[in-house]
């Protein structure tokens, strides 16, 4: 591509964005609207995955120890637990420690627990085991149950598995919705740009007679589409960031412990990338389709 032509394309494209002011504004609105919905689904999917990872990382298997076990037997049990496959961490909490924890949780009412001191402590020692691979947690639970001195094994693996599969299901649906949304947006944008192209069909016609190549005619329109796409992406990014900030602040003030959102500053690079990419893509493809019909001279 000749440098003279590149200058010409840039000049023409920027001129056209402003000279077709209302049309450009309409296109920008279309881009903003579709990118907003796109961004919402993106955030939803990302947050859902994030929450599931958070919950999954909290997953642990708790096993209570028979009170008749000696200290040696307990140490032996700890070693066997550590040697099990798929076990990444083993934490021991003695019955005394657990009682103290309980005390802390009771706060001002801790005195209620006074009568459970020392020999009267009804709690048992327990181990908390973390898995390396959640999907193999069933096997680990079975392995633990087979060890001697274990009274009870508590695991919420089933819940987490359900959550994981639900979230991946929702992610897939979101992706399809985003794809459908993209196609619809391209259609709308190309129709808007088609109006701009139509108002300049005479010019295109003359260009063809003077010997302009198809790409020479296309480029200014495609750059015009990209400019519209970028402006739309910036606006939708601003709206989404503001909305997200408001929403997360609201949730924080509601103090719902288990709902954890991705921090805004971690989200912005992804949003910027996705929205700009979508905006540029939508604008360029939309323009390409819009000009196509008028090139057949």
């Amino acid at each position: 591509m000749k440098i003279n032509s590149v200058k010409y394309f840039a000049k023409e494209a920027t001129k056209n964005v402003f000279s077709n002011g209302w049309m450009s504004l309409a296109s920008v609105f279309t881009v903003v609207a579709s990118l907003l919905v796109f961004g919402l689904f993106l955030i939803l999917t990302m947050n859902l995955n994030y929450m599931v990872t958070q919950i999954a990382s909290d997953y642990e298997i708790t096993l209570t120890v028979d009170e008749n076990q000696t200290t040696e037997q307990i140490t032996e049990l700890e070693n066997s637990l550590k040697n099990l496959p798929n076990v990444s961490e083993v934490i021991f909490e003695s019955r005394e420690e657990r009682l103290n924890l309980l005390r802390q949780q009771f706060g001002d009412n801790a005195s209620l627990l006074d009568r459970y001191q020392n020999e009267k402590n009804p709690l048992r020692h327990w181990f908390k085991v973390t898995c390396e691979d959640l999907t193999k947690s069933d096997q680990t639970v079975a392995d633990i149950k087979s060890l001697s001195g274990v009274v009870r094994v508590i695991s919420n693996g089933e819940t987490i598995r359900k959550l994981t599969s639900a979230s991946s299901y929702i992610s897939q649906i979101s992706i399809w919705i985003m794809v459908a949304l993209g196609i619809i947006s391209i259609f709308i944008i190309s129709n808007t740009i088609k109006l701009a192209v139509f108002s300049r069909r005479k010019e295109i016609n003359i260009m063809k007679y003077v010997g302009a190549t198809d790409w020479f005619i296309r480029w200014p329109f495609i750059i015009e589409g990209i400019i519209i796409g970028v402006i739309g992406a910036v606006f939708s990014l601003l709206l989404i960031v503001l909305g997200y900030k408001g929403l997360t602040t609201m949730f924080f003030s509601l103090n719902i412990g288990f709902v954890k959102f991705i921090l805004l500053r971690n989200l912005i690079p992804w949003l910027l990338l996705a929205l700009l990419g979508m905006g540029i893509g939508l604008g360029a493809i939309g323009s390409f389709i819009a000009v196509r019909k008028h090139l057949k001279v």
């Binding site: 063809k208 010997g211 190549t213």
Partner: protein, 229 residues
């Protein structure tokens, strides 16, 4: 230079035979009038030259290239060898005279320096140097056609195709435009002009190809219009 060899054109949509097995040859530097009644096939012939349509059968050879088999992407380069002028001028209303002409050079990727050198040249050739900053709406019909001519010539095409270039002009202005075409022809540009203007054809005494019912009725070296207006 330009060869039509047994060319026929049938339009798909109505099956009408617009041209029926015509052959002729145009030498470099010639001035040729294409005449004939309305609907006889003049427009089709012009469209084949500009490659707006392709022949159904036969060969159209322009500058040693058989354009009947030309690829879509090569058409622009064919068109850069020819200037085109229409009855309705087809100028861009939002561009000045200068811009309407320089536009044709920008399209083929000419440098700013080349444009600044060539556009004033060609504007002075058509006698419009003083109107460079005017817009088409501020010009008379004759002046607008001169701008169109300047645009057609600015890239130094080997030949100029004029489709009824005087159709919208009064007789005096029309004659001026044809005199200008004659000047351009004397500088070596081949001119092919489809027209209904009897007085012009009779006055110029150039080669005349008459088309009737899709066939060549006459081809005379120093011909006349031959129809009643």
């Amino acid at each position: 230079m330009i060869i039509f060899s047994n060319v026929s054109k049938v339009y798909d949509d109505n099956g009408a035979k617009a041209l029926n097995n015509i052959s002729f040859y145009i030498e470099r530097g010639e001035f040729v009038f294409i005449v004939g009644p309305s609907g006889a096939g003049k427009s089709t012939l012009i469209k084949l030259l500009m490659h707006e349509e392709t022949a159904t059968s036969g060969d159209v050879i322009i500058n040693n290239v058989n354009v009947s088999a030309l690829k879509q992407k090569d058409i622009p380069y064919l068109r850069r060898n020819m200037g085109v002028v229409f009855q309705d001028f087809r100028l861009l209303p939002k561009k000045t005279v200068y811009e309407n002409v320089s536009f044709a050079m920008e399209i083929i990727g000419a440098s700013r320096r080349e444009i600044r050198r060539q556009v004033p040249n060609v504007l002075s050739m058509v006698g419009l140097s003083h109107k460079a900053k005017s817009y088409p709406s501020q010009l008379s019909g004759g002046e607008q056609q001169r701008v169109a001519l300047a645009r057609a010539l600015v890239n130094n095409p080997a030949f100029l195709i004029a489709d009824e270039p005087t159709g919208n002009l009064n007789p005096k202005t029309a004659m001026e435009i044809v005199e200008l075409l004659n000047e351009i022809n004397k500088r070596g540009t081949t001119i092919i002009m489809a027209t209904h203007a009897k007085d012009i054809v009779d006055h110029m005494k150039k080669r005349v190809i008459a088309i009737e019912d899709g066939e060549i009725a006459r081809d005379e070296a120093r011909g006349v219009y031959g129809y009643e207006n």
